[in-house]
Subunit: 342 residues, 2 copies
Amino acid sequence: MKKILNDPSNLVPEMVSGMVASYPQYIRQIPDTLAVVRNDRAFNEKHAPKVGVVSGGGSGHEPLHMGFVGQGMLTAAVPGQVFTSPTPDQIYAAVKAADQGKGVLLIVKNYSGDVMNFDMAKDLASIDDIKVESIVVDDDVAVEDSLYTQGRRGVAGTVLVEKIVGAAAEAGLDLAALVKLGKAVIAQTKTIGVALHAATVPEVGHPGFELGPDEMEYGVGIHNEPGYKREKMVPSAALAKELLGKIGGHFDGGVAGKKFTVLVNGFGATPLGEQFVFANDVLEQLKDAKADVIFTKVGNYVTSLDMTGLSLTLLQMQDDQWLDYLNAPAATIGWGDSRNER
Amino acid sequence: MKKILNDPSNLVPEMVSGMVASYPQYIRQIPDTLAVVRNDRAFNEKHAPKVGVVSGGGSGHEPLHMGFVGQGMLTAAVPGQVFTSPTPDQIYAAVKAADQGKGVLLIVKNYSGDVMNFDMAKDLASIDDIKVESIVVDDDVAVEDSLYTQGRRGVAGTVLVEKIVGAAAEAGLDLAALVKLGKAVIAQTKTIGVALHAATVPEVGHPGFELGPDEMEYGVGIHNEPGYKREKMVPSAALAKELLGKIGGHFDGGVAGKKFTVLVNGFGATPLGEQFVFANDVLEQLKDAKADVIFTKVGNYVTSLDMTGLSLTLLQMQDDQWLDYLNAPAATIGWGDSRNER
């Protein structure tokens, strides 16, 4: 294992410390936790209370979630150890720090440990009279149930949910409206990932599974969970066809005539150039299929440590407002620029 | 070699096509070239002519340079084939597309082929009465001269030069002032990189050099050029100490009491989490050394295909205006958010 680390067991505290020290204009650490909360002036000076939006989960998926904390996106984020759910007390601390008197929405990826611990945090917060609701992201259509999941896993589509719901919270929607919006977006978000090489958890020291020199795992999870098949490598265009075929089948009546957001998400060790070659194939094929792509993102948003591979997400845009929320400003480490003045 | 590609020899055109199709709000392709130019409304409607800022170089370093084209940063960018200089006619086409009647500044990384071809493009443009000047970035202090370079190589510090000069052009500085500013920034920009694993050029099919399972190459270039030593892996904190010691020695009188921008730049296959662990060590050690870090960026900005490793750049901030230029908005694929309202 070759990694730039000190003590592998200390990766998460050092990483959080590095993020906070590098980008204090966006985030600060919540005392006695690994969680972070917004640190911009609008939040700190409590100008206009909004619903807090909190997410979290195991580390190793950076920039998710801490890199998406900032005005217009998440209010706070809670990292667990690598590929391990954060504890209820840490989530509870993030809820308290994010609450501005308007309640807090939890965005939870669908893993058994995360769902359980976020639920416990919700119970803790209810004692404090903080109104807390949660939504569960389960966008991975590769497999039903998985190693750590009942139902479908929550993967790269999470960043789109966080962006839309975060922008809506910034725009002043109340907790009930945000729950409704988040659930509607999740229902239209479908993802499948492929791995060329598995991720190595630092404390384990070797890849989570072995692939042959010309093999690819289709439908892999972001914690090295198995996918739906393992086959020889194919060219990018054939890969795009396979994934679009699988994902498109989850939209009633296919993709023709519908509006979509497309997310091509690198898993950590796949160069951006390859991601754009793949995006080119995806966008061409969607055009041929008469689908209308109105928003695209390509890059490393929801990674899996040093996994080589990428995922494709399609979000069917059922409401024009969703595009406005995607285009709204987000002052974060990881989302990037938001201007869209054509 | 495991890569997500179609025909390796067609990587660059497909990648450019994917970037333009994914982000038409920022860039469009210049007809009959691989080069891209701004596509935002302010540029297309020619509201207020500014000096054009053009960069380019071999591909494989994405998001550099095309990912930095947009209002507030580059006006146009010219990609060559992988690790290969763009041709003079392509650079000339970008100069013509970028020119708004106020002249064009070329930002060139110091490689013999790039310097030669950008010079030829400058000659071509002079026939058209377009005023063109160029500045050469040579921030890599690891070695003097190298495989493809006389003097020092141009590496990750290039993105800081592009951001500062691009913001200054957007603010209305004239060509002579931009040349002066660019040269002043370049003189204060110092970088060293380390590799844990070499990059694989797709058309070659194997890594550019071999490292043992516990070895690291110190001072590596972004085209697999050799560095200044090859040694056993060390922890992140020891690596930070080595690089800071080397780089600090290039600032007269050391780093104490001076203001710096710090860039931790991933080479393509190094997870963001590791980059933040390293940034944490760098920022702590600079604090201990009484240096004042006033701006930090951590992420993949100037990559080397699938190389594992990262580089550290220190830019001594000699003018308060430079920080304003770094913080100014940049509507690009790769620079990220620019808000800094603390």
